[in-house]
Amino acid sequence: MYRETEILQEAVAGDLIINVGPQHPSTHGVLHLVITLNGETIKKVEPHLGYIHRSIEKMCESLTFRQFIYVTSKMDYLSSHINNHGCSLCVEKGLQIEVPERAQVIRVLMDELTRLASHQLWWGALGMDVGALTPFFHAFRERELINDIFEETCGTRLTMNYMVPGGVMADLHPNFQRRVHEFIKQFKQKFDEYDELLTDNIIFKNRMQGVGVLSAADAVSYGCTGPVARASGVSSDIRKLYPYEIYNKLQFDEVIETAGDCYSRYMVRMKEMRQSLSIIEQLIDQIPEGEYQAKTKAVLKLPKGEYYSRVETARGEFGVYIVSEGGTTPYRIKFRSPGFSNLSALDHMARGGKIGDLVAIMGSLDLVIPDIDR
């Protein structure tokens, strides 16, 4: 817990110190913010973490290289495919496993579907944060289709555990292609509705434009990645900078906005959804035949050394750092979660704003607390 005296010292008479969270409608999880207010104006925001710390990294040290991937689904529960993907990539790097092309395509398809589902949830939740409750349900209508697709192929809807070292756990369900086509058709129709509800709304624009501005230099110094950095004009798409799997063969743009405010973060994610949709459209009819999983040894032993791999989740760069002593379990493991760095910029962005701005900024950062607090 925090040292209470430390916070109280900095407050002057007339300041109001409010605990937002750990149970609060707008923190989307058990984030605890201690905010110092002068009337409605925010003087300081101090995030307190640890309410959902499960020491996943330490847990991973006692799990084998096959097992530890399953734990990572529970970190960023909105992009469990991509978390698993990053961990599988790291193990494959160490063992130099060649992933079959079919598995690569399946992985990319699943990643992009996950990104879409995650952005849809973010879109709805952001709407709720700024006071519009209806977008949440509209977003969930389309997200449900993606969850159904996942359920059919992977067996679960949220923590999929589908990607394993060497490929994917099981082959695609025969219905996969048909249902993805159905999803694309419906989503394309409804996406314009999304724009009507929020993007072009004058109240929404007023709430988002010029709020929580993060300059490019600040974005770099806080270590922001993903849409948060790209909204400030920093190129940070791992899919473009360090392409993995088949991303270098695909046609898609890295979305970059330059204003650095909440609205550009919003626009980056909205445009990214269209890019993800185009990636899915490119691949869905061209899934190559072949193996979905490479032949691997029953017991995986990473050679002694250090391995790092990174993937682009919906929130930014997800890094996996494994130190191996040559055994069946990792000696040390460290995850670089995008949410933690993005959260660290919150204080910088929220100072001088109003309480409503803080909520909008938090919404535009797209925080997933179990990802920050591993």
């Binding site: 519009a132 509209h138 803080l358």
Partner: protein, 358 residues
């Protein structure tokens, strides 16, 4: 025209003959109180149900559909739950003010009911300053909200109450000014006179541009005054959890909740009376056949229909728009709505003096 006028008049005469003046007054007061309480409980049930169904329709879901046919008794079940719940009073709260606040809010909502004309002659108190009475009394409700926020001894409640205070006091102004526009045209503050002036056409449809402007400003202002989204900053659940009623539970919470809906009904009823002709039926110029058919629909149906249409519009706002920020909210009022309504009032006055209206 079928109307409730004769019923109330006959009842009044009959009571007078039977019991004399004093007893008649007392009996009628009790009857009116019972009717008002009955109306309020029915309004609470109907409006909450309507809100849930409207929101469900807009949010691609079904809404309540389990308790009773089509979920009609959901609100009853919810109310029952709230009644049997413990009404908590927090330790640090000012107990007297904390418990008083919900009743003040509720009583004020009830008092505003008095000058409303439900149908021809069906009105509790046809006071000659009806419109002024409504404007004056409705601004008192902010005291209840401030009291609740202050007495709760909760920082969220305090912030919510302060927001609400700033908001209601500001938006009173443009609501009042847009109401005055109609008063200037009618030349009377009496509710029945205002309704009677619209016999040949509702003010909104008479084609006066200042009236249209006043109507739009009035709708915006009443949405803000009743703390409804997109102006629900006093509650702002994503910012202040529940604003001024964060600490309330059980029946005391239910009173706030009910008062919100009753207030919506009342402001919409005022809007319907001033701009949409109250209980007057819709008439199309000289189309006597059509007008005759319209006359057969009772006044109470017209009044309720117009009121519920406005209520639907306000619900529509809530489930579509994001919430404004507090500074944007006050900017909207002081920089845009207030100057526009002042100018509008000037225009209306000019129109009335020069006799450019009909």
């Amino acid at each position: 025209m079928p109307s409730l006028e004769n019923i109330t008049d006959d009842l009044d005469v009959w009571l007078y003959q039977q019991f004399g003046a004093t007893a008649t007054f007392l009996i009628e007061s009790v009857l009116i109180a019972l009717l008002a309480i009955g109306l309020f409980s029915i309004l609470g049930l109907v409006l909450i149900m309507m809100e849930r169904k409207v929101s469900a329709y807009m949010q691609v879901r079904l809404g309540p559909n389990r308790v009773g046919p089509k979920g009609m008794f959901q609100t009853v079940a919810d109310t029952l739950k709230l009644i049997v719940k413990e009404g908590m009073t927090p330790d640090g709260a000012d107990k007297f003010l904390f418990n008083l606040a919900p009743f003040i809010v509720m009583i004020i909502a009830m008092v505003i009911l008095a000058p409303l004309a439900f149908s021809k002659g069906f009105q509790i108190w046809d006071i000659n300053i009806g419109v002024l009475f409504i404007t004056a009394v409705s601004s008192v409700s902010v005291i209840g909200i401030l009291m609740a926020g202050w007495a709760s001894n909760n920082k969220y409640s305090l912030l919510g109450a302060m927001r609400s205070g700033a908001q209601i006091v500001s938006y009173e102004l443009s609501a009042g000014l847009s109401v005055i526009a109609i008063v200037v045209l009618t030349g009377s503050l009496r509710m029945s006179d205002i309704v009677a002036s619209q016999e040949n056409g509702w003010w909104l449809f008479k084609g006066h541009i200042p009236v249209l402007i006043a109507f739009v400003i009035f709708i915006i202002a009443i949405t803000a005054e009743t703390n409804r989204a997109p102006f629900d900053l006093a509650e702002a659940e994503s910012e202040l959890t529940a604003g001024f009623h964060t600490e309330y539970s059980g029946m005391k919470f239910a009173l706030f909740f009910l008062a919100e809906y009753v207030n919506i009904f009342i402001v919409c009823a005022v809007g319907a009376t001033l701009f949409l002709g109250g209980w007057m039926p819709l008439h199309f110029g000289t189309n006597t056949q059509f007008n005759h058919v319209m006359d057969y629909i009772p006044g109470i149906v017209w009044f309720m229909g117009k009121t519920f249409f406005l209520i639907f519009v306000i619900m529509w706002f809530r489930w579509t728009f994001p919430r404004l920020r507090i500074d944007q909210l006050l900017n909207l009022e002081w920089k845009y709505l207030l100057p526009i309504s002042l100018f509008n009032l000037l225009l209306v006055t000019l129109m009335a003096i020069m006799g450019w209206h009909f």
